[in-house]
Symmetry: C2
Subunit: 276 residues, 2 copies
Amino acid sequence: MSRPTVNPASLAELAQFAMLLEVTARGKPGNIDRCHDYEDTRLDHFLSSAVLAKPIFSAIEAGNLSIGEAMRDVVARTNMHRGGNTHFGAFLLLLPLIAGKGIAGATELVKKTTVTDAVLFYKAFGLTQVRVRTEDPMDVNDPASIQRLKDEQITMYSVMEYSAPHDMVAREWTNGFALTRRAADLLFAQKDGVHAIPAMFLTLMTEYPDTFIAKKFDEATAEEVMYKARAVRDGRQTLAAFDDECIKAGINPGSLADICIAGIFIALLEGWQWDC
Amino acid sequence: MSRPTVNPASLAELAQFAMLLEVTARGKPGNIDRCHDYEDTRLDHFLSSAVLAKPIFSAIEAGNLSIGEAMRDVVARTNMHRGGNTHFGAFLLLLPLIAGKGIAGATELVKKTTVTDAVLFYKAFGLTQVRVRTEDPMDVNDPASIQRLKDEQITMYSVMEYSAPHDMVAREWTNGFALTRRAADLLFAQKDGVHAIPAMFLTLMTEYPDTFIAKKFDEATAEEVMYKARAVRDGRQTLAAFDDECIKAGINPGSLADICIAGIFIALLEGWQWDC
């Protein structure tokens, strides 16, 4: 009788695990988590998204899909429920990080994305309710934008360069995944696995205004949230009260949550002991 | 450019989703869940187990593994962390239910398990810290038991028949997965998807003493827990207070949790709208 082959976790499995760890982490202000659901979107939708995304992660790990194709496929598959956009930004980070087997590889890969990838990306966007800035001339929800991509030969990388000033997730494509790196480093610096993710998340909140908040409200609000996070860090307000305030005001640091997922993935890839 | 193929969820994916829905459900007294970790075992371990089990689920769905082989492989793979036994009982239910594509198929399949399956099952057990009755002459932790299986040609089904009086998970193999059926039916009877799982779990607690509690403490304690669950159902105690009492006493209805997972899987398979 043969011995069981215990295969180590694949990159696709690490990415899925990162998504699950992030959404179930306790005490990330303003996000959906173990103890908060939103009206239309529940924790269950995020779990469903993590389950359904996995085959696309495996396919891109195996080199069978371009980044544009993978975005289209993963958004189409995870859009099968009513919870709306759950992981769009996380996918934008995870897909190149999986395909590139880490930050260095991803940084090179994204530069090689094509016009076709850009068109597929816009089509993926069209399947979601992803929040954009209302005054954006390259609004992804406008069909004329797709024609413009082809006419002007705009690649997916160029789209991210264009979006970077107002979108911290797109910005990662252009700056070597800098905040992803920071997030992973923060995890490695933690001694306590249980509290590592919320601690990392709060630290990121104290350092960077969240562009998802800026799009929903404005940049002043995003900065105010950053200062309030510092008050929590410095002990002038409790985490619970801050979380409660964010939830009541509809303030959701969704782009930092996406970066948090990417950071957890990189940390796991690099051997982070989540189990300590 | 091709349209994306949106494949519906496989049985393996439904089983993984069932595991995730169960462990993140709010308000299941005494279990690890969103708001409770135990000292050595955390929610994260259950998430890891759900991620790592998936390829074995896919393999048995495709007919590539016997039930015994699948138990051995899934326990070996999910045992890679320090959280101990997380899903042993759930696997014992899910593997035949996936392979049989439902309860009817599973009921027939389990009867056809072999002596080899029994040996592999005992070896899987040996990899875990699964709780057994201390006075059990067929103690799975005793190597002489494996020799006895071979000498007396005891099949895996026979092992479950032998264990059924004291183990409600093993009992499912012998009674047509009766509690799994009940659990699924309870979910379909719910109007509210958000509260369906905890409501189903509490109902099961009011109807059946949990054999995991009986093994850890004694049958009187397991019955007492059933009566206390009825007090909650009847409004004489709050769910929160009952949950707190269970946690403090180390009372964990782990076998009902396994049946809960199986029930969720069957409900999903049969089209339950978890998203309502």
